[in-house]
């Protein structure tokens, strides 16, 4: 499995190539660094694994800039988003048990417990 830096670099380069092929502005390292308010040299070191992943805030900004799922990037960085941490801390034993129970379940089984937006009468 890719490390955080490898994954980030591969996704950025793929999106950069896609955008350029469509005649749109690319997503160079400098451009992405500017979008997320990081120094290009620092982002470059993160991509090459010479620096650990940045803060949660920067990871979420990177996810937004690249159109990636922030939870996936945070997981690759070995982090859990603060809203999930808060949710787990509220009922830690229950959520620990739930995750262990579900960890090997297929996606469709897990999706059965995802909360749907309730439709009413209108």
């Amino acid at each position: 499995m890719d490390t955080f830096g490898q994954y980030l670099r591969s996704r950025r380069e793929a999106k950069d190539a896609t955008a350029r092929a469509a005649g749109l502005p690319g997503l160079s390292l400098r451009k992405v660094a500017g979008l997320v308010d990081l120094e290009p040299s620092y982002l470059s070191k993160i991509e090459r694994g010479q620096q650990p992943p940045p803060s949660e805030r920067s990871i979420i900004a990177l996810a937004e800039a690249l159109g990636e799922d922030p939870d996936v990037l945070l997981a690759l960085a070995g982090k859990v988003s603060s809203d999930l941490q808060a949710a787990i801390l509220k009922r830690p034993a229950l959520f620990a048990e739930l995750i262990r129970e579900l960890k090997d379940q297929p996606d469709h089984a897990v999706l059965r417990i995802v909360r749907e937006v309730r439709d009413g009468t209108w």
Partner: protein, 348 residues
């Protein structure tokens, strides 16, 4: 099924096709001047927060709970636009088309007609995603919309009140229909691996504060009114009527809650008011023009004579839109049809 994640609605149709998905989020933006000049597209300033109405049942009027769905905060006279994303099938290198109906106060934003079940073709009362990347307002004329602007329900400004004579529903209503699986697979055959474009991938990856019921909650309901004029085309449906799977519609009521009441209802602060159009334009920040290669639908017959907020305000002797002076956008960025994850956020 309809789920909500990161302040975004996700409509998915796993029974139809794994890639049959549409994401919709509601973008905060500038209110363009309501002065009958036409303006380019304003930027997106981030998503409005979305919450399940069921989570705040004790503080909401019963009709909100009856209708279900989600709610979001908007300040009086605040504008917004809808951003659409489509699920992407990597084997076919194609986004999965879906038809999206949008109404405000149960009046179609495309035609002005009252909400009907299914898809209307003549005139077309829906947009096709991913062909249509955004919707900023009511389609008043071919190539022009009037911006969605939130106004308190019951004061006579909303499009619903103009067309129906009463303020019954407010909010936004959305229904999504996927393309039939057989039509999708016929139109978009599997692309052999060796000719796949490198890096071509999906558009989608894809506490209660109040202890007592709040009488002002009913007053918190907002409806969408017609604001300033903007250049935006509603693309004509490029597909055939029988290619849409109208047996699998999923719908959602999006209640608009006055931001002034949001904190009392949810315990959380709403987003601040956005910058005004003049200071944004004067700072040289970008506006956008979108060039589509699809033919556009005409304006809604019922919407062409709709009165804007400023016009109604003048009749009533009110000034509903502060800071409504004309502005001159200095930087306008042209955008081609969306590929990949491009969004119109600009470099701010």
């Amino acid at each position: 099924m309809l789920t909500m994640r990161h302040d975004q609605l996700s409509f998915s149709f796993p029974d139809v096709h794994p890639s049959a998905q549409v994401s919709i989020d509601f973008q905060r933006t500038l209110r363009i001047p309501d002065d009958d000049r036409s303006y380019p597209l304003p930027p997106g300033l981030g998503r409005f927060p979305l919450r399940h109405v069921d989570d705040f049942a004790a503080n909401l009027p019963p009709e909100w709970l009856l209708r279900g769905g989600v709610m979001m905060p908007m300040w009086q006279a605040e504008a917004m636009w809808l951003s659409f994303g489509a699920g992407f099938d990597t084997e076919r290198e194609a986004s999965y088309p879906c038809a999206v109906k949008i109404a405000a106060g149960k009046r179609s934003a495309v035609t002005g007609k009252a909400w009907q079940t299914g898809l209307g073709r003549k005139p077309q009362d829906y947009v096709v995603v991913p062909t249509q990347p955004w919707l900023d307002g009511f389609c008043v004329k071919k190539g022009f919309i009037r911006q969605f602007v939130a106004m308190p329900l019951g004061q006579g400004y909303s499009v619903e009140e103009q067309l129906d004579g009463e303020a019954e529903f407010g909010g936004l209503q959305i229904e999504v229909f996927p393309m039939k699986r057989v039509a999708f697979e016929r139109r978009f055959p599997i692309v052999p691996k060796r000719v796949r474009a490198r890096g071509w991938d999906g558009v989608l990856s894809s506490p209660m504060a109040c202890t007592s019921p709040l009488p002002p909650c009913s007053d918190a309901a907002m409806g969408l009114a017609a604001g300033g004029k903007m250049r935006q085309e509603i693309s004509r449906d490029p597909y055939k009527a029988d290619e849409w799977d109208t047996d699998h519609g999923v719908r959602c009521f999006v209640h608009l809650c006055n931001s002034a009441a949001w904190q009392d209802i949810t315990g959380h602060a709403p987003p601040t008011t956005p910058p005004n159009a003049r200071s944004y334009a004067n700072a040289g920040l970008p506006w956008f023009e979108y060039y589509s290669d699809q033919p556009a639908v005409g304006g809604g017959e019922l919407l062409k004579d709709i009165r804007s907020v400023a016009k109604i305000g003048k009749t009533k002797g009110e000034t509903p839109l502060p800071e409504n002076g004309a502005v001159v956008p200095q930087v306008v960025i042209g955008l081609a049809p969306r590929r990949g994850d491009e969004v119109r956020v600009g470099e701010m």
